[in-house]
């Protein structure tokens, strides 16, 4: 894949990161598998490499100014995710690529359902408040 295409792909992913408040790996992984023909494990490892860097920093500053950040909960989540990430990584490395990709597909479907439903009551309150 041409390097400019990869940079452009990153840009599109970044916009989604800011809008949805998500990390972007969920888009990067399938894009690398299907556009770049990468193996599922390598795509996931590359995605993890990307999110090692504070990519969400620009987006966080926007939320911070609007007082939309819970510092304490954020710090707790960092610790939990560090430990959990190690455990999950150990499991994934031991799986066959095809199985891992199918499991990733199931995970995306679950994430999609969660995204759909969380759009409901709380955000309406917020919209009403303006």
């Amino acid at each position: 894949m041409h390097w400019l295409v990869i940079v452009a792909l990153g840009f599109v992913v970044g916009i989604l990161v800011g809008i949805m408040g998500i990390g972007g790996g969920i888009i990067v992984v399938p894009a690398l598998v299907h556009f770049a023909g990468m193996d599922q494990h390598v795509a996931q490892g590359t995605s993890l490499f990307i999110i090692l860097w504070p990519l969400g920093l620009g987006a966080v500053s926007v939320y911070w100014k609007k007082h939309d950040v819970d510092l304490r909960a954020g710090i707790i989540c960092v610790v939990g995710m560090l430990v959990g990430g190690y455990l999950g990584g150990r499991v994934a490395v031991g799986l066959a690529s095809g199985h891992l990709e199918s499991a990733f597909g199931l995970f995306l479907m679950l994430a999609a359902v969660l995204l759909w439903y969380r759009a409901q009551p709380k955000s309406i309150e917020r919209d009403a408040r303006g």
Binding site: I19, M20, D39, F49, L57, K66, D70, G84, V113, L115
Partner: protein
């Protein structure tokens, strides 16, 4: 019954589950952390998104990354090329999100994600 919604231990438990998913699927975890903060811990939507982005600023996936790196499952060059776009795109997306109610946009995104998930689920079976 005690309200566990903002209990630090309950939040820790949630983030541990998110971390396992993050390591297993090579993702940041925000896609799971945001809805769980809203649904279980009753965070307001924008606050959940801001908090999730904050949790992803430190290298939260460091240990997950190291397991893949040790197994030689990382493409550093492609990774480096993706970084600048994600950073600058993130600033633009963040500005868009705090201005508009992203509800409809999120539903479009959820639909795309679901189709993508179905494809990923089936694709390995079609290759055999």
């Amino acid at each position: 019954m005690a309200d566990l919604s903002k209990n630090p231990i309950a939040i820790f438990g949630t983030s541990l589950v998110v971390g396992v998913a993050s390591g297993m699927f090579g993702i940041g975890g925000g896609v799971l952390l945001v809805p769980l903060l809203v649904l279980i811990h009753h965070f307001e939507q924008h606050r959940a998104q801001g908090t999730s982005l904050l949790a992803l600023v430190p290298p939260t996936g460091l240990f997950a990354f190291l397991t893949y790196y040790a197994a030689r499952e990382v493409d550093i060059r492609t990774g480096l090329l993706l970084i600048p776009g994600i950073f600058f795109g993130g600033i633009i997306g963040g500005r868009v999100a705090v201005k508009l109610s992203a509800r409809r946009m999120r539903r479009v995104f959820a639909s795309i994600l679901f189709l993508l998930g179905t494809w990923e689920f089936i694709a390995p079976m079609l290759r055999h």
